[in-house]
Structures are given as C-alpha cells and as structure tokens.
Symmetry: C3
C-alpha cells in the first residue's frame, strides 16, 4: 500500500541515522513485511528466524543488523536495532490526518479556559471551567474535558474521549476514541441491606509519553490518585481500577482488567485479557501471560501464567472431571506409595 | 409486549412465505416464546426439546416444522427452518425508530463530502474530508467519520461511533454505539529503555452484511489492513487486534479478545470472553468455548476449550493445590507403575 | 489531598449521626487512610486487621467501632458500621462538579420532550421524540437518549452515554461515560449459509438506585426486557446480554461478561472479569471469584471459582502437560489400586 510519501534511500539513511549499503537514489514509497514487500518498498529483519524470507524478499531495501547485511539481496540499511529503526521509519511514512491549530466554532469552551494558539479543538468538544491545555494539543471531536482537567504539551485525544474533573495528564500522551479517564472507582460499603456509594475523592494522574487505546477505562482514586507512570502503554478495552499505580514503561495489553489498589512495577507486561485481583503488588519486570489471573502478590521478576491450554472439548471435559477429583487422586496416590500408613 | 404492528395470519403466511394451517383472519400483534405467549401472539418451536411447551402454549399461532404441526394446538405456520422464519418475523414486528433522510444542521461535514439524498446524518455528526457514504445510510448522533472513510450502501451507525481515517466499510453494515474502528494497533519497538511507537499505516477493511456490537474495538493494521469479511457478526466489547483477518460468516461473541495478526477461518464461532494469542491461524468451522484461550494455531474444525469448570471455592482450592503438584504426581505414578526403574 | 470543604468534628458527628469522643472544634479538611492520614484529616478503621495502623495514625480523628475507641490516639467518631459511616463521610467531602439546572443551547431536544426545570442538559445532548426525564436529572454532554426513553428522578448520566429507544430507567441511577444501554442483543438464526438477524424487540428495564460504570453495555431483550433490579451496582466494561435478569442489590465487578438469558439472584457478587454462559440461573447470594466462568446453573448460595492459580510459567507448562493427561493418570491410578481388574 502506497502511503503518499516517498523518500530516496539516501534520504532515509540520513533521516533514520543508518548506514546505507546500496543505491542512494532508489525511491521508496512505503513499508512492507519481508514476505509481502515489492520493489519500491522498504522492509526490515528484526527476528532472525525470518532470515529465510530475506533471501527471497522483493523489497528494494531492508533494515538489517550488520551481521545479516550480506544475506540481503536488496539494498541494506544497517541498524543495531532494526525493529526500532523500523518503528522510526513508520513515522516517516505516516499519513494520519494533520490537524491545523484552530478551535471549531461548535466547541463549548468555558470562558475561563485559555486555548493555546498551537492547539486544535475539534467540533462539539466540551471543555469545562478551570481546564488547561498545553501547546500543540489535538482534541478530537466530541471529547469532554471536565472541570480543572490539565493536559500537558502535545497530547492527542481522538474523538469521543471523556476525561472527568481534576484528571492530570502529562506531555505527549495519546488517548484513543471511546476511552474514559477518571470515572468513579467502584467502591461501596454494604450496610446489610444495600450498597452505600463511597464517593471517589481522588483523581487520575497520567505521566508523560503514555499511550492509551480505545474503550479503555481508568478510574479515579477513592482518596488518593490512580497513577499511570511515564512511558506506560495501555491497549484497548483495558480496565484499571481505583488507586492503582502502574510503574514506568509497563505495557498493558488489550482486555486486561486490573482490580482496585494494585501496584504494578516498572517494565512489566500484562498480556492480553490478563487480570490482577485487588490490593496486591506486582514486582518490576514481571510478565503475565494472556488470560492469566494474578491472584496474589508477585515479588520476583519472571513470567507467570494461569489457566490451562486449549484442547479438543471432548478431551478437555475428561480432564476437567479429573480436575475436580484431583485432591482425591493425590491422596490415593500417596496411599499407594505408603501402604503401611493404612495399617 | 405489543409492538404497535399487527398482521393477520394470512398476511404473515404470505410475508414469510410459509404454509398456514389455521385461521387466516386471526390478528397477531406481537411475538413471544412458547412459554410466555398469550392469545394474539405468534411463537415458534425451533428446538425439539421444547415440544412439551407446545402443547400448553397459549399463542394464537406457532411457527413449526411440518413434523410438529399436529402437536400444535394453535394455528401453525409450517417452516423448514422455524428459527430462520422467526428471525424474519421479528423484522416484521420491529418498531425501531425510522430515520427520514435528512442532514441535521448541527452536523459538521467537510465541503468535499457528498451526502446521498437517501441518507440520514444526525446531530453533531462529524465527517472529515474525502469521506464517502453510500445510499440509505443512517449516521447516528455524535458519530465521527475520519478522512477518506468510505461506507457502502445501507449502513447503520448508531450514536457515538468513531471511525478513523481510511477505514473502508461495505454494504448493509450495522455498527452499535461506542464502537471504535481503525484506532492504532498496539505496536511498539522496545529500545532497551522505552517503547517506541510503530505508526499504524494500514487500515480496516469491513465487508458486506457485517454486524458490530457496542463498545467493540477493531484496530487498524500496522502495514496492511485488518480484514473483517462478509457476513461476520461481532458482539459487544470485542477487541480485534491489528492485522487480523476474520473469515466469512464467523461469529465473535461478546468480550472476546483477538490479539494481533490472527487469522480466523470461515464459519467459526468464538464463544463469549474467549481469546486468541497473536500470530496464529484458526481453521474454518472451529468453535471455541466461552472464556477459552486459543494459545496456538488450530488446524482442524471442531470444538475447543480451555480452563476449568466452576466448583465450590473450597473444593477448587484443593484441586488447585494439586494442579501445582501435577507434574510430581504424574512422575510418582510412573514410579509406582515401574518400580524397577528405581533400582 | 484537601477537597475544599471543611467541617469541625462536632459538625461531622452531627452530620454522620455518630458519637464523638474528642475535640468538637477540631477542623477536618479531608479524608485519608489510616496509613497516610495527617493532622486535619479524618480516617476510619473498618477491617480489624489494620488495628496496628490505628496506633501510629496521624489523623485528627478516626471513625471506629466502640470496641476500638480506646486504641485510638486521635479523636474518635464511634460507629456501629465504620465503613458505612466512612462512605457517608465521603459524600460530605465530595467536590464533584455541580450542574445548575439549565439546558445548553447546543442540545438537540425534540419538541415533544419536556425538560423539568430542575434538570441539567449539557452541550450536544440529543433527546429523541417521546423521551421523559424526571426531576433533578443531569444529562452530560454528548449523551443520546433514544425515542421514548424514560429516566426517573435524580439520574446522573455522565458524558457520551448512549441509551437506545424505549429503555426505562428508574430513580437515582448513575451511568458513567461511554456506556451503552439497549443496543441490540446478539441474536441470529443460521440458515445454513449466513446469519439472519433476529430483531431485538424487547428493551431494558433498569430499577432504582442502580450504578453503572463506564464503557459498560447492557443489551435490549429479544422479545422481553433485560432487567436490572433495584440497587444493582455494575462496574466498568461489563457486558450484560439480552434477556438477563439481575436481582436486587447484586454487584457485578469490572470486565464481567454475562451471556444472554441468564438470571442472577439477589445479593450476588460477580467478581472481576468473571462470566456466565447463557440460559442459566444463579441463586441468591452466590459469589463468583475473579475470572471464573459459571458454566451451568448454581442452585445454592456460596462462593464459586474456576480456573487455576498463577504459577511461574515454566512450572505451569509442566502442570498443563499433565492436565492434558489427567484422565489417563486417573485411570492408571485406578489400575494400580485394583491390579486384579486387569486379569
């Protein structure tokens, strides 16, 4: 797919700060995988297990580690981190819409709010009293920024994002459509007959360079703030409960649910649809597999999983029947091992 | 519940193309289950295990297979596929609001966009440059259609749907409120200190006759398009990652999470809250049970499950302790079976 | 964090109807946990296991059960239910924005709709023909209320909520942003080649005193109504399928998915990311653990769980291999126990 931008390989080498082995004048119009690339495209080899694809690749150029340069039939852009260089290349070919600084006349902005000259505020945006926007922000159509919300510089809120009062967002934060930041945490005191609402008096504090996907929800704290630290990346459909603290550069994959008052360390990865029960701590550099539940604190880095693998349902049912008998099975085994215990 | 529409059984037989055994003039004002139907209502027998309910049913008429017609006390509409005929009947009694062709003055539509005379564009809709709508589309209030989005004929977007730039939607597609199509896929290259964003240069391609529920998210592809094929039905709260390909007529139940670069075949059913890890293939006609995770490719049709059944928590804890010892249990069993191995 | 409101302990004792042991004139400006409280703050001791924190707590006052009053260094507010009293105190310190009765000029309200003098209707709200609002309702910006929607008194809809036609909401209902009530249930009749849509002719009936979180979806019934009873509390990202009935005062935690036609009793708790398959009944006072799936009806109160605990992935893989062999393991054990059966 052509992305309406074109560079010579010489330009790309310069822009990406990479060494070129090949034709400086060759025009590159887009990016592609090794398998699907055609002439005029730039590809990359990040995972060495794809090296076979390198030989048959039709790309005009490939971003490769120096040690694979010789295996490359096409021109080579030599990188110590081909995947990072590829990520940087995607920015060069990105044709996402640009939003010129302006305030759409249909936006409802309280008179106390100052919009920087460099900001874009789209149609039907609502900005409540006391809110503050940094330079270069883009606020997509239909977004709601509650009272005293603050956004740092260069934030990009896509359409229909809702941010409740007093939420504090850092610089360079991207928030995708449908996401809700700062709604009430889920807290009730049961009085024996009914649930009495605990008003959620804290807020949400989001650091710098945070990305948040679409239809994700991050609740405000009960008494203190829910905290999303610098560099955290959060996918779609994620739920983060009140009072959680997510450490720097952790990654939360789609559909993950984090209950209230969970502290997650730095450089963690919560796999897709994983979860954590409330009031636990997860150490730095913990990885949790897809659809695994963390049911108590984890104190050591490492990879953790729960659940069982998929099987044909007929076999799985048999295993499940036995799972229900498992304590009995273990005890019977022990008896066989120690028959004299019975005497 | 009366739905404000009424037909005689003769009319229904004609509209549904079914043979009537009974009173042509009988007026039917609504639909109901066998168990709850009252006179003036039409019911259906689809699952033979409900045949006992047929005898005591108070409906004025029942859609039945010919072989059950005699068991029917009421008038009978004879169908080879009673459940499909029932589905067709629901369309006759549907009283959902009709939207007359019109463009609400509060909509913000770029001057380059042509709205067909037969389309409805609701309040506060935002349509960006280059977007195209087919005939008979309904765009509910607060929807956002990004640059160069194309919708085919007869699409119905309920309120507050967000569709990002370049997403391509076929004909007869229904998208429910809060859903987000074409947000960035979740892709980052880790540079040793931080996650570098991989811009998502692909888009989303949605075929014809696709239904998409509410608060569902379908991400744009990294380099190529995420593809939802003709006839696919997607429920609420579903997450479909970048680069996925969902085959024709597959059904994705609510809360399912599909990681990136997953290919799902035709006529598959992903059960509620099921999942699939990234970069795998699932064959045609695979069914995955509720809350089951597909953790590697599935090459054969069939029914697959993971996880364990619910139990009383006290018993479940005992099974769980033993699950953690399971490898040891298996080895000890083998030792008992082969005691001489120990020598 | 100071919440801009301040009370003397004497005032708090009176407002919360509690006995004060301590300084009536002491000013309290906010609430905090025992661990983090500083002078000028009010804390609470609900869980006796935190009694050690009581002794070192720096709060000016603590809400405590009478039996712990002596252990309290600070002033004490004596409560039979300290957690409920704390919940009531949060309401006193809540500084959420107040919305003065008014109708924003950008709202699109059908001429047939009467807005009570005491209601707030925010920017870009859309209210369709036949809708009815009770007194004291707050309708946040960008909300959509479909045809013939009725809201009782004192409902609070945060921004960007979508409510489909004919949904009926009781009094004192809170609905958070991004939530969708009354979208089509997921029903299709498969005709051998494609899925034929079953129009969803029912609606959703929501009782009094219901709280619903953000990005939650509750589908309309197929023929009858989906019912959410009085006092039910629903967290974020919850999916409730068509025809479900949720009993009084049940609590549904975040990310839970309830398939269609499920009946849940009174005073149940569905833990975070739990689920229930379709067409089952769950008795009163059932608690389901986090990420557990209820796969058949539960007839007795109690606590239920499914799944397995998290483990280091390396160990978990070994248990998983054995789980797949579990039926064989059980049979082999039986053979060892009954060796003569083999003869």
């Amino acid at each position: 797919m052509a992305h309406n931008k074109s560079y010579t390989l010489g330009e790309l080498a310069s822009l990406l700060n990479l060494k070129l082995v090949g034709d400086e004048q060759c025009a590159i119009h887009s990016l592609a995988t090794l398998k699907n690339a055609t002439p005029g495209q730039l590809s990359f080899l990040s995972n060495p297990s794809y090296i076979n694809q390198l030989e048959s690749c039709n790309a005009s150029a490939v971003i490769v580690d120096a040690k694979f340069a010789d295996a490359c039939q096409a021109s080579a852009l030599i990188s110590e981190s081909p995947y990072v260089s590829f990520a940087e290349a995607t920015a060069l070919f990105d044709d996402s819409p640009a939003y010129e600084p302006s305030v759409h006349p249909s936006a409802t902005i309280h008179s106390s709010v100052e919009i920087p000259d460099t900001a874009y505020v789209g149609p039907n945006v609502v900005i409540e009293p006391g809110a503050k926007l940094g330079a270069d922000c883009v606020i997509g159509s239909g977004c709601f920024l509650g009272e005293n919300v603050t956004l740092g510089k260069n934030c990009f809120l896509h359409s229909n994002v809702s941010i409740y009062h007093r939420v504090n967002v850092g610089n360079n934060v991207i928030i995708h459509s449908g996401t809700v930041i700062g709604a009430d945490g889920f807290g009730f005191a049961f009085d024996g007959k009914k649930s009495v609402k605990i008003r959620q008096l804290g807020s949400v504090l989001i650091g710098n360079d945070v990305d948040i996907g679409s239809c994700t929800t991050i609740d405000r704290g009960a008494l203190e703030d829910t905290v999303i630290s610098d560099g955290v990346k959060i996918d779609n459909q994620v739920q983060i409960g009140h009072n959680c603290k997510i450490g720097e550069h952790s990654v939360i994959c789609g559909c993950t649910g984090i209950a209230g008052s969970v502290t997650i360390g730095k450089y963690c990865v919560m796999g897709g649809a994983s979860g954590a029960v409330g009031h636990i701590n997860i150490a730095d550099k913990v990885q949790v597999s897809a659809m695994s539940l963390v049911s108590e604190s984890i104190t050591e880095p490492g990879i953790y999983s729960s659940g069982t693998w998929h099987m044909k349902t007929s076999q799985w049912k048999r295993s499940n029947i036995r799972f229900q008998q498992l304590d009995s099975i273990a005890k019977r085994l022990k008896e066989l091992e120690n028959p004299t215990d019975k005497n």
